[in-house]
Amino acid sequence: MRRLLLAATMAAGISVSANAADAPIKIGFISTFSGPGGVLGQELLDGFNLGLESTGGTLGGRKVEVIQADDQAKPDVGRQLADKMVESDHVQILTGVNFSNVMLAIAKPALDAGVFVISPNAGQSQQAGKMCHPHYFSTSFQNDVPAEAIGMYMTHKGIKRVYLLAPNYPAGKDSLAGFKMGFKGEVVGEVYTGFTQLDYAAEIAQIRAAKPDAVYFFYPGGLGINFVKQYAQAGMKTEVPLFGPSFSFDQTVLPAMGDAALGAYASAFWNEHYDNAASKKFVTDFEAKYHRLPAPYAAQAYDTARMIDAALKSIGGKIEDKAAFQKALETVKFDSVRGKFRFNTNHYPIQDYYLTEAVKDDKGRVVMNMKELIAADLADPYVQDCHMPAATN
């Protein structure tokens, strides 16, 4: 009887694994879909879905089931969603996360449970350095690097005196720290403002009095819209030029900033006018489907879907072989919208950074125009703290 039971169990086991190859790949897509940050989740999801569409709705030839959920920009909500997706939905990949603090709450429990975590945006330093993990990958950037790139550019251009502004929270401090790594001139003012501050008239008056050569600021989303509009209305735009990271000037905020953004500069590894075949196809398809220009968030998520597809194709779709999937991701080759794409040893990208400028396109929309290469193959500084363990199952 016991032997029979064993045989039956084994048979059941075999049938399960036989089914597994046909079973859809389950992906958990946790992002922010409500509140002021809701635009980010929507960009990421639209980009990811377009990426999936471009691969025929499959990843590595297998069907895909995407389970999406709204983290409301709250780490605790994100953690609960991740636990549910890992334990009851049995997702194999978690992605979608846009905020670093949410990712910090999600990554460790999901990785401990053996799930692959692929960040399409959140670029916290922890997983780039000491907490790097064989199953954690980032297809976007490490938070410090875009700021460091624009600092390098401003040094190169001979800009001497810079005024810095950021919200008083971890990513704001990271951004200014990253900037100071790249910038060798004098910092004449460094201001951290409240995270829900609406009015910047007082700060703008202080900037005017300090007479810097340039302003570098890190204000994501609505904060940046407030700041840039008020800066232009105060007549400062023509006096002191504005510099920011790419996500201070992208298509989630540029339509609302309008003319106030014109003439501002940013550092970017991709923009909507990037000149390569994959990027052009992406922008055309995105506009046709969603009737707006994509922001880098959408491009990163588009790349994420296509990267997973390429990695899985190279191993016959066997995502269940985790060591093989990890190796496939580490050496993945695909047509990135960034032209070239490769992972560093900490599984964060090494990529080129360009200077972009806010201009009007022929349809009268405010877009970021590609100017010149700032730095090729830029890597984040945390990689030296990462001792990546060998691939295992």
């Binding site: 409500s34 635009v39 009015d199 008239a201 007082a202 700060e203 309008g258």
Partner: protein, 290 residues
């Protein structure tokens, strides 16, 4: 800090205060007269900005956008009062907070469905878009001076209307004793609909005045609501002149706190001020009832 910079920051503080007053006026009106805590005030503020931005973009007229936004938010306010909120006048404040908090979520989601998640464009007409030189070395944005003017006019009109006119008398009568006011022939029901619509229109006005300098996006009402509640409580709930004094005080404290203090202290200095004032005057600076 040099003298011109000090003057500019003082002007910034007063201007921020007047903007806060515009947001608080409707809140304190409804709170004081109808004893209703309306957290959805922030949602009406958001709708005012969205409607004005849409109409102004389509018609190329800021004034038309402003007019439509004020009328539309007044109508939405009246509808809310008749359909839902009048049932809550005699319920506890906790019930009122719960239902109006629910309204915030509903309005945010509906706004996202209609206008999408990407923040809206809201351009100023060229006549008020630039800056003018107030004195040598100080260019001040024209539109901020417009906000200053509108806020002061609104404050004056409200004060005159409530304290000096027959309508204002009905409103005060209905608020202090509803049954007696009805008995002497005041249609309290209509008066309350009117007050709530006026409160909503003030929220809409605040939203459309803030729209060109702030991000017009889903959820833009919540950070403003918190500041408006602080102003309302410091000024004395229901007091229009209290709200004006408190708003300008908060504007100045916040501006100089941000400039002179460390970032952590600067962002909480208005809440410290609130604690000190309420310890000194628990009913606010200008208490309305006793």
């Amino acid at each position: 800090m040099s003298l011109p910079l000090f003057l500019e920051q003082t002007l910034n503080g007063v201007q921020l205060g007047v903007m806060l007053f515009l947001m608080s006026a409707g809140l304190t009106l409804v709170f004081g007269i109808m004893n209703l805590i309306n957290l959805a005030h922030g949602a009406l503020y958001m709708l005012g900005a969205f409607i004005a931005a849409t109409v102004a973009e389509k018609s190329d007229s800021f004034l038309l956008g402003a007019l439509v936004a004020v009328l539309a938010t007044a109508a939405i306010g009246a509808l809310l009062e008749v359909a839902l909120l009048r049932r809550f006048y005699h319920r506890s404040h906790l019930d009122q907070v719960l239902v109006t908090f629910g309204l915030i979520l509903v309005f945010n989601q509906v706004t996202q469905l209609i206008w999408g998640a990407v923040p809206m464009r809201f351009n100023l007409p060229d006549s008020v878009a630039g800056s003018i030189e107030l004195f040598p070395g100080l260019n001040y944005p024209v539109f901020r001076l417009v906000i200053l003017g509108v806020g002061l006019v609104v404050g004056l009109l409200l004060y005159v209307m409530i304290m000096r006119t027959r309508i204002g008398m009905w409103v005060r009568a209905g608020a202090s004793n509803r049954a007696m006011a009805s008995a002497i022939g005041v249609n309290v029901e209509m008066v309350f609909i009117g007050v709530f619509a006026a409160g909503a229109a003030l929220a809409g006005l605040a939203g459309l005045m803030a729209g060109p300098i702030l991000a017009v996006q889903v959820g833009m009402g919540e950070p403003v609501l918190i500041l408006a509640l602080v102003v309302t409580v410091i000024g004395g709930i229901g007091s229009i002149n209290g709200a004006l004094v408190a708003a300008i005080m908060i504007g100045l404290i916040d501006t100089f706190g941000r400039v002179l203090l460390s970032p952590a202290l600067g962002s909480m200095v208005i809440f410290l001020a609130m604690a000190v004032i309420l310890a000194w005057k628990p009913k606010g600076l200008f208490p309305v009832h006793g």
